[in-house]
């Protein structure tokens, strides 16, 4: 056992040394001799026909090396959707081609139709302005209902703006309708899950290079999953053989989902590198990030909850319109369906769930997974309608939830939305939340607020989410076009230290600290002797990267499996060294010993023997000490939590202040509680941002009005309270070797309904009959709602 720094230790993050001292190495930090710059010409209209593009003047500008337009990519493939969804009638979803550069039509503001490569960024920018594009503007399709009603199609060739019309679970549809028709009480809520811009601190950046002597391509890029990017470029878009393409994602400054996907800029810099024999770099500016990073959420939902006379949940039924934007981003079709509909039973013993999702093309930026990806949308719908139902029937919102919770003795539990929850204890979470939040003190705090002329509300939320999406066999049946395993190679070096190559990618999650804690615990060695290698397809095994809170549950399990193989082989070597039977070798605290004797060798001595195999049983054991494991989970993991918050509202201005926020989560076993707490903090901040501040607004012409920080409100430090975070109530995941769940998205999933529920509670405490306000619950919206209710 390591003396410290193993499983359960709140070790400080070793990667923070470079991040906090400005010595991180991000893609744009990489400077290559003779590199040149790419700048994209982007559409300023949301919908238009490209009648001609004249690059003559641009090509004559100083420093210009090449100009590309959509014509140059007609022969290459499109950027594909990663998940096939079939509509209720069995028809496959509509999959319009997503080209590297727009061809024929531009379909959203920011859609790139040309790229200029020049010696410098400034020259490329100057030349891009000289491109004469004759684009005939057409009316834009922005609103989803208009998109479905009209005959103005984002993609003329598919003849509809509906990507699919999905039902889940279709066999439950009639029974759900019947249950709602006959129920004692039905609560109906129409709500908007507001569109969000991901706003990673580091904008996207891609550098393509090509070696004419070998034909090797290298792409440095801001990616959460370099192997997936390589696969997409190789197999679908460019046709570059995988063995001739290396994709490297070095330090990445946040992704939140937006860097899962392959983007056309990555293909462009590779094509340009090949054509010019030069290294070509493109770095997005913040405006491009707003216009072209895949956005998140953007659901419009009607949800109904049917209850019997005692408040038992009988059915949930939802109808959702999910905006996918102008093109299908790689997982745009999975997010509103299998990552959303399957969670629509929540933490509850409801027997019937029916979810209908219509995905809609519009002349807006593509929408895809963003921190939480479908589960925040499910949780928000459920936990808002339950809160509303409790108020309608005069029940305490917490008690109504508790009454309908799945109980601890019911696991494994087959939910009405098709998942099998493996473990949990929602009452215990709620108990802990009430304790650590000092719920008992709320009445006194409300009185204090009222004495100051402020309204105070208490909001509660119970969530369950599904992360570490798996197994590959199941997701394949459901339409996934990729597997969802991960991989790790543990390389014990000759001097006893380790390099661990992982398929997961760390862009803020802390893998470089946490994964060594696991290996150190298993090997009984100092975690600082273990280095994590990630992000480079030439160094790491084929893994699926980081998203969906999967890294520890999936890739961490692969690390465990590979380390087990190391121990098994090391035991064989130790048995030889100690002249004992392998079965008699005991491995504890980093030492191999022979049971019942004082004979022992250290892990380091075994490592050295493996690489200097003198007097080595070569007929039985190969030299070296390096093992790889691929791990494909048996199921999702199911984190759950009970959250509460207290808000104060200034009734004169409508300004909401989150005063207290408590998050009690079941993450199963926790490897590093400090890192987990940090993940929850970040998620809570994003959730509060969604609930109170962030909104992505297009006007009727498809112009993005909230296209900069002057109009897009990000949460700042003084927008969030001191958080009370507890993860003492873990119930181990039953099917992965570490017993871990996932913590990366929980805060962003659990907090938005908590905040909105508290706002409604506060307003109602002032005697105003406001039952719902859409996010972001801005001062203006709160004031208007209160005004209308007076």
């Amino acid at each position: 056992m390591p003396k410290d720094g193993g499983i359960g230790a709140a070790t400080t993050r070793r990667e923070d040394v470079r991040f906090l001292t400005g010595t991180g190495r991000y893609t744009d930090d990489i400077q290559t001799h003779a590199e040149c710059a790419a700048i994209f010409a982007r559409s300023t209209v949301a919908n238009g026909i490209i009648k001609s593009i004249d690059t003559t003047a641009a090509a004559a500008m100083p420093g210009v090396l090449a100009i590309f337009t959509g014509e140059d990519f007609v022969e290459v493939g499109g950027n594909p959707a990663g998940w096939l969804i079939n509509s209720r009638d069995g028809e496959p979803m509509k999959e319009p081609k997503r080209p590297v550069l727009a061809h024929g039509k531009v379909r959203h503001v920011g859609d790139a139709y040309a790229a200029v490569i020049a010696e410098t960024v400034q020259q490329a920018r100057d030349a891009a302005e000289m491109i004469e594009a004759d684009i005939e503007e057409l009316p834009a399709v922005v609103n989803m209902k208009d998109a479905l009603a009209g005959d103005n199609f984002v993609h003329d060739e598919i003849g509809t703006n509906q990507c699919f019309d999905w039902g889940w679970i279709e066999d439950n549809r009639a029974a759900t309708d019947e249950a709602i028709k006959n129920a004692h009480h039905v609560t109906t809520l129409e709500l908007v899950n507001n569109r969000l811009v991901p706003n990673a601190m580091e904008p996207r950046c891609s550098i393509g290079s090509y070696h004419p002597g070998t034909g090797d391509y290298t792409l440095h890029t801001t990616s959460q999953n370099p192997h997936l990017t390589r696969l997409l470029i190789s197999a679908f878009v460019m046709g570059i053989p995988e063995n001739k393409l290396t994709v490297i994602a070095p330090d990445v400054g946040g992704g939140f989902g937006s860097k899962i996907y392959h983007y056309g800029e990555e293909a462009l810099v590779l094509a340009a590198a090949k054509k010019l024999g030069r290294t070509v770099k493109w770095t997005a500016d913040r405006s491009e990030a707003f216009l072209t990073d895949a956005h998140g959420r953007d659901h419009v939902t009607k949800i109904e909850l049917a209850m019997d006379k005692d408040g038992n949940f009988l059915a949930f039924r939802t109808e959702t319109h999910a905006n996918v934007g102008a093109y299908l981003s790689n997982f745009a079709t999975a997010t509103p369906t299998f990552l959303h509909g399957t969670l629509m039973a929540g933490n509850y013993t409801v027997p019937l769930v029916y979810v209908n999702v219509k995905a809609v093309f519009t002349n807006t930026a593509p929408v895809d997974a963003y921190r939480g990806a479908g589960r925040p949308e499910a949780t928000y719908s459920l936990e808002r309608v339950i809160d509303m139902a409790a108020r309608e029937i005069g029940r305490d919102p917490t008690d109504l939830r508790r009454q309908n919770f799945i109980k601890p003795d019911q696991y494994p539990y087959a939910s009405a939305a098709g998942l099998e929850y493996d473990s949990g204890n929602y009452d215990a979470l709620m108990d802990k939340m009430e304790e650590v939040s000092d719920k008992a003190g709320f009445a006194a705090r409300r009185a204090e607020s009222e004495a100051k002329g402020l309204l105070r509300g208490f909001g509660v939320n119970a969530y369950i989410e599904a992360c570490g999406i798996a197994p590959s066999n199941l997701v394949g049946i459901l339409g996934s076009r990729v597997g969802l395993y991960d991989a790790a190679t543990v390389r014990v070096n000759a001097t006893g230290n380790l390099s661990v190559m992982v398929g997961a990618h760390s862009h803020g999650q802390g893998h470089e600290t946490v994964f060594p804690q696991v290996v150190a615990e298993m090997l009984g060695i100092d975690p600082m002797s273990i280095e994590i290698v990630h992000g480079d397809t030439s160094k790491i095994p084929f893994g699926m990267g980081t998203y969906g809170s999967r890294s520890l549950a999936v890739c961490g399990s692969a690390v465990v499996r590979a380390t087990e193989k190391i121990i098994n082989k090391a035991k064989k070597i130790a048995a030889h060294m100690l002249e004992a039977a392998e079965a008699d070798i005991d491995f504890t605290d980093g030492e191999f010993s022979v049971a019942g004797t004082d004979k022992k060798v250290s892990f380091g001595e075994v490592a050295l023997k493996a690489y200097i195999p003198h007097n080595f049983p070569l007929e039985d054991i190969e030299p070296g000490l390096e093992e790889t494991a691929f791990y494909d989970p048996a199921n999702f993991t199911y984190p759950s939590g009970a959250y509460c918050c207290e808000v104060e509202i200034d009734p004169e201005t409508g300004k909401v202040r989150v005063d207290r926020m408590t998050a009690v989560d079941d993450f199963g076993n926790v490897i590093n509680p400090m890192v987990v707490t940090g993940q929850v903090h970040g998620g809570l901040g994003q959730g509060i941002g969604q609930a109170l501040l962030e909104n992505t607004t297009y006007d009727e012409n498809g112009q993005l009005l909230s296209a900069s920080y002057m109009d897009y409100a990000m949460p700042r430090a003084d927008d969030v309270p001191y958080y009370i975070v507890d993860h003492s109530q873990g119930n181990a995941c039953t099917h992965n070797p570490l017993g871990v769940k996932g913590c990366g998205e929980a805060g962003a999933i659990g907090s938005p309904p908590t905040v909105v529920n508290a706002v409604i509670d506060a307003i109602q405490s002032g005697g105003m009959n406001v039952t719902h306000i859409d996010m972001p619950v801005s001062p203006h919206r709160v004031w208007a709602a209160m005004n209308n209710a007076k």
Binding site: S287, S706, D711
Partner: protein
């Protein structure tokens, strides 16, 4: 950004001379101009930086007025005006963020006259005098609508002279994204009169709320506003608030400014 030349004259006279070139543009603290240039929304051939002009720096008080050099940054006003004109110092301490406050200048703010900026409200409510290289302009004559002032081409705000009221306070309700004023109200109580200036709210830019001034001149109390209403006509209607909401906030912020004035 497009390429440009930059000059950094040491005197107002040299700056004025440099600005006589019609392609030259004055650069104060650059908190509006630099982002505009970065977005390639402007392309001056030459920038004349005013930051090296020592006669436009710092502040002095004389005859019940505080004179602040046009090149003085907000952070300096926030600290050095605190004793003599605390309401103005408090306003300066809440403009933007520390980076903005350590680059942005009062002259730049007054010359730009952003409809949601803070300083124009202070200048108008205080009845300040805008001092330029060629003349002195009363605030009432100076602010002429959104991004519009009495300044002539090439004219530089060299100083702003603020009469110091008996009591004053600036109450800002921030726009959540930019944290400019969604509505900001500056109330200044002098011995004989009260002046109220509103920023952030109107399509016409900073303006006085004369009905409130009359009511408050008679009775300097938030209660004096009770019967007043603010018309939403000509107020800004945007992503962050309707004209009606802004009209409501004008009254609320005015009342709070009166209550907090000292």
């Amino acid at each position: 950004m497009y390429a440009f030349d930059i000059e950094r004259p040491a005197t107002v006279a040299d700056a004025v001379a440099a600005l006589s070139n019609e392609d030259a543009q004055a650069l104060g603290g650059g908190q509006t101009l630099i982002p505009t240039l970065k977005a390639r929304l402007a392309s001056p051939e030459k920038l004349i930086s005013l930051s090296g002009i020592s006669e436009m720096q710092g502040m002095s008080s004389e005859g019940g007025a505080l004179r602040i050099g046009g090149g003085t940054i907000h952070a300096t006003v926030a600290t050095e005006a605190a004793a003599i004109y605390p309401a103005l110092a408090a306003l300066a301490s809440h403009i933007g963020d520390p980076a903005v406050r350590n680059r942005g200048t009062i002259g730049g703010s007054i010359a730009n006259n952003d409809p949601a900026a803070c300083y124009p409200a202070a200048a108008l409510a205080s009845g300040a005098t805008i001092v330029t290289n060629s003349r002195e302009i009363a605030a009432d004559d100076y602010f002429q609508g959104m991004f519009t002032t009495a300044l002539d081409e090439g004219e530089i705000v060299t100083a702003v002279s603020f009469p110091i009221p008996e009591k004053a306070h600036y109450e800002k309700f921030v726009q959540p994204a930019s944290r400019f004023a969604l509505v900001g109200v500056y109330v200044a109580k002098f011995a004989d009169v009260v002046r109220v200036a509103v920023t952030g709210a109107s399509n016409e830019g900073v303006h006085r709320w004369t009905a409130a001034e009359e009511a408050l001149s008679a009775n300097f109390s938030a209660d004096a506003l009770a019967d007043l209403t603010v018309s939403a006509d000509d107020l800004i209607n945007d992503l962050h608030g309707s004209a009606e909401y802004r009209a409501h906030l004008v009254k609320v912020m005015t009342g709070r400014a009166v209550s907090k004035a000292k």
